[in-house]
Symmetry: C2
Subunit: 173 residues, 2 copies
Amino acid sequence: MSTETRWLSTEESAAWVRLVALTELLPGALDAQLLRDAGLTHFEYGALMALADASDRTMRMTELAARTNATLPRLSHVARRLEERGLIERHPCPEDRRATNATITETGLALLESAAPGHVDTVRANVLDALTPEQLGQLYEIAGAVLAQLDPDERLTATSCQFSEGPALARAG
Amino acid sequence: MSTETRWLSTEESAAWVRLVALTELLPGALDAQLLRDAGLTHFEYGALMALADASDRTMRMTELAARTNATLPRLSHVARRLEERGLIERHPCPEDRRATNATITETGLALLESAAPGHVDTVRANVLDALTPEQLGQLYEIAGAVLAQLDPDERLTATSCQFSEGPALARAG
DNA sequence: ACGCGTTGGTTGTCGTTACAACTAACACCA
DNA sequence: TGGTGTTAGTTGTAACGACAACCAACGCGT
C-alpha cells in the first residue's frame, strides 16, 4: 500500500529464495519418510504427538487445532480419518456439549512409538545435524520473529513447554 | 537406523517446533495475499517470475520445474491452467522434439507487474522487516545448510544469480 | 537399420486441503 | 421465556498436488 515499492536488495533476495525453497521442500521430505515408514503424514504425526503429550491423552478439537497450526475444518477431516483407523477416539465433552474431546488410543500410541525414531532421524539428517549450536539458537530467534508476524496473537504455534516432562515421545515432536 | 535414537534436546525441540510452524504458516500467508490481490498462487507467481527472468522469456519445462522446486507433473498441470488463462504459451521445442518451451505472454507480464508490489510488501511485512541485517545473513546460511541436505545435487533451488540484472521484476521473486 | 535404455512431458486418479455453509449449543439480557 | 450473538464442530464442494502409468523422442551400440 506504499506509493513506492521497496524492492528487495541482493542479500534480501538471496535469503528469501532460500527460505522459500526450504518451505517448499521440507514438508515433502517429512511427509515422504513418515508415509513410507508409518503411513502417517507429518501433520497427522504432529496431531497424534500433541494428544500423546496431553494430560489424559485428551484434548479439545479447538485446542488441538491451535497446537497443530491447523484450521478447525482441516483438523476435523483428519480426525475422522484417524478415528476410522482406530488411532484416536472422539467423544462429546460433558461440560460443554458443543465441544469434542479427542483421545489417542493405545493403537495410536503404539504407532507413534514405532514412528518416532525414524522421524527424529529424518529431522536430524535434514536439519538439526546440519546446523551448529549457534545456528540452532539463531534459527530459534529468526523463526520466532517471523511467527510473531504470521501469528501475532499466538493463538497457534504451541508456545508452551511441552518438552520438559514425560517420556521420550515428548521430545520427538 | 541407529540402534539408539538420539532424542532432541530442549533447545533442538524449541527451534524445530518453530521451524515447523513457520513452514506450515508461511505458504498459506503468501497464497492468501496473492490469490486475493492477483488470483495467483505463490507457486504460479514464482513460475511466472522465473519465465519473466529468462532470456526470451522462455524456458524448458524441466528447467522451470527445477527453478520452482516442483516435480514435472505438478508443473505440467499448473502450466496447462496458466495457458488456459492466457498467461503463458507452450510450444514444442524445435531442437528437441520431446521438449516443450514455456513462454510468458504480455498478459502474464502485466499481471506479474501488477502483483509484484503487493507481494513484496507481504514478504517484507511477514519476514524481512522482522529480521535484523545479521539475522538476514544467518537465515541465508541456515537455509543453505538445510537445503544442502534436502537437495544435495542442487538440481532444484535456483542457485544462479537471477537478481543481478534487469528490471524491477527481477527482484520481486 | 534395429533394439534398448533413458529422457521430456502429459494425463488420469486419488487423497488432502481450503472455503463456505450449516447445525448445535452456550451466554447474556430482556 | 424468548431473542441475539458467539463459539464448537461437522460437512460439502471444488481446487490442488502426488504418484503412477503412459507416450514420444533421443542416443547409442551393433
